[in-house]
Amino acid sequence: MAEEHVPKAAVPTGPPDPPPAADAAIPAFITSLQAEVPGAVARISFYLGDWTVIVPVSHVLQAVTRLRDAPDAAFDLCSDVTATDWPPRAEGRFDVIYCLYSTRHRHRVRVKVIVAEDQPIPSVTGVWPAANWLEREVFDMFGVNFTGHPDRRRILMPDDWQGYPQRKDYPLEGPGELLMENPIDWLKLRQSREQADIE
């Protein structure tokens, strides 16, 4: 099959997050966030016209509350909450990303938080109720440890599901029905596949 011909690339250790050019005009809401909440902005990134603010876990709630309430930011819509898994990264394997939009100023920003496995990250459901289900989905798919969430349960997968499907170390294909019906055939199939991989 086509997939087998794809050369196995080295495992990436994180997104590049390129910093903005030295002469780039940083939006006012980022500079005022830096000034008003010290330590809230670890890094700034600019790529393909989108600004990204990288915030340490300890300052998430302060930073997003400021971004929602300050008149120069006014991010009233939380478009999306999602995550990316970078297993080998030393500072924490998950990027939790909030995509924010302001209907008043019509601008966008992405807030990115780096967390390790099991490291608690405060839920932003109190700031935007829209984040409720989106965070549930991130918990369901990645197992990110949101704290203070009103209803932290699985949302798409069944309640008794084991593992977190979107993690990079989660297999694409499970044992399926064959394991239930005929475990010996399943074992043979798996062995023949492993053999094919080695060859």
């Binding site: 790529y47 819509l77 898994d85």
Partner: protein, 378 residues
């Protein structure tokens, strides 16, 4: 809870308690496999819990193991009643990552297809929404016109539901000869039919009773809870991705964004009815001003965007459809593929909307936020 206790008459022979009613997952008016667990006090809904995931196919995980071109047909399978808009959103996101320019003709044809798709999706919404409330005729009428759009799509790309109608950098093929005339002809037919739908519903006493004042939500609350698209505009928030962050050829189109005032089911209905007309207006503009030229931009033979991540949103018939894609710059598949599904975010508002209304209004409200379960569960 308080409401129930208040009704219990002290010393009387009877007692009242809450009833838990399971609606779905096989219920005709949940538009797919959605389960809503209702807690009822008599016929009034005290609380609702939405259970989903019955249609989860792991499209995000699958996409991370397919190459960039193969993903286009997976996006068809999310919002299957508006497949072309999902295609456009995905292709534009990859074009943004690759930083390639799409020719003007291709952008115009994309606009026409998106707007035809919006009309088809709204036809399906109108038919099913009206049928849920009890107006059977509208369903038959709306599906009659939807068929005309499906015929146009069939002539363009050979498929009637899952089109796979876009390619990264442009279109798979040019429109067939005489297609634009048929589109204009369709616009003339459709313009009359919208008035016909409105005669059936807009001033209909039963329709007004069933939709006015049902599920009222203020603009600020709607924005906070994550409503998007026509459901958000029904509450009077001027948010339309086509106007705010134009894509395809929307920056060259003239159109208005209809807004509601009351934020109830009736206003959401009116907003969508006006969107029919605005879509027709855009289709006419784009078809009449269709420029000549190539339909595919300069696309590299091996699609492998530089390492980086981006978020790009478009206005699907349901609301803001966003794609967040991360490329690691080394492999021929995305490192992370995330869809921001508008139906999922709209559905989140359902428990808030149904609280305090009658059981019969729940079906009206599910219809009014216009969800497709293929997109909710992915």
């Amino acid at each position: 809870m308080e409401a129930v206790e208040a009704k219990t008459v002290r010393g009387a022979m009877f007692d009242t308690s809450e009833l838990v009613l399971n609606m779905g997952p096989q219920h005709p008016s949940t538009h797919g496999v959605l389960r809503v667990v209702l807690r009822l006090d008599g016929e009034t809904v005290v609380d609702a819990e939405v259970v989903m995931g019955y249609l989860h196919r792991g499209i995000e995980k699958l996409s991370e193991n397919r190459n960039w071109t193969q993903i286009i047909l997976l996006t068809d399978r999310m919002d299957y009643v508006a497949a072309a808009t999902s295609n456009v959103g995905y292709c534009e996101t990859v074009e943004k990552l690759l930083q390639i320019e799409v020719p003007r003709r291709a952008r115009y044809i994309r606009t026409i297809l998106c707007e035809l798709q919006r009309i088809a999706s709204h036809c399906l919404w109108l038919g099913t929404h009206a049928m849920d409330i009890g107006a059977m005729t509208v369903f038959l009428y709306a599906f009659r016109e939807r068929e005309l759009i499906l015929d146009l799509f069939e002539e363009f790309c050979g498929a009637r539901l899952t089109y796979n109608s876009m390619r990264i950098g442009g279109l798979p093929q040019d429109v067939p000869a005489g297609w634009d005339k048929k589109v204009l002809e369709f616009c003339n037919i459709m313009a009359e039919k919208i008035d016909e739908y409105e005669t059936l519903l807009t001033h209909n006493r039963i329709w007004l009773e069933r939709t006015k004042g049902i599920g009222i939500i203020s603009g600020a609350e709607a924005a906070a809870i994550g409503l998007c698209g026509p459901a958000l505009r029904g509450s009077g928030v001027a948010r339309d991705v086509r106007k705010d962050e134009p894509y395809a050829a929307y920056d060259e189109m003239e159109f208005d964004v209809p807004l509601g005032t009351a934020g109830d089911t009736y206003d959401r209905y009116l907003v969508r009815m006006e969107e029919f007309r605005q879509s027709l207006r855009m289709i006419r503009q784009a078809t009449e001003g269709l420029p000549e030229g190539p339909i595919v931009g300069k696309v590299p033979r091996l699609i492998k965007p530089a390492a980086g991540e981006t978020y790009h949103a478009i206005e699907s018939p349901k609301g803001e459809l966003g794609y967040f894609i991360v490329s690691d710059g080394k492999s021929t598949n995305p490192y992370r593929f995330r869809v921001r599904p508008p139906s999922f975010c709209n559905l989140q508002a359902l428990p808030r909307l149904v609280r305090g209304h009658l059981v019969a209004d729940v079906v009206a409200l599910i219809g009014s936020i216009d969800i497709v379960l293929g997109e909710v569960d992915r």
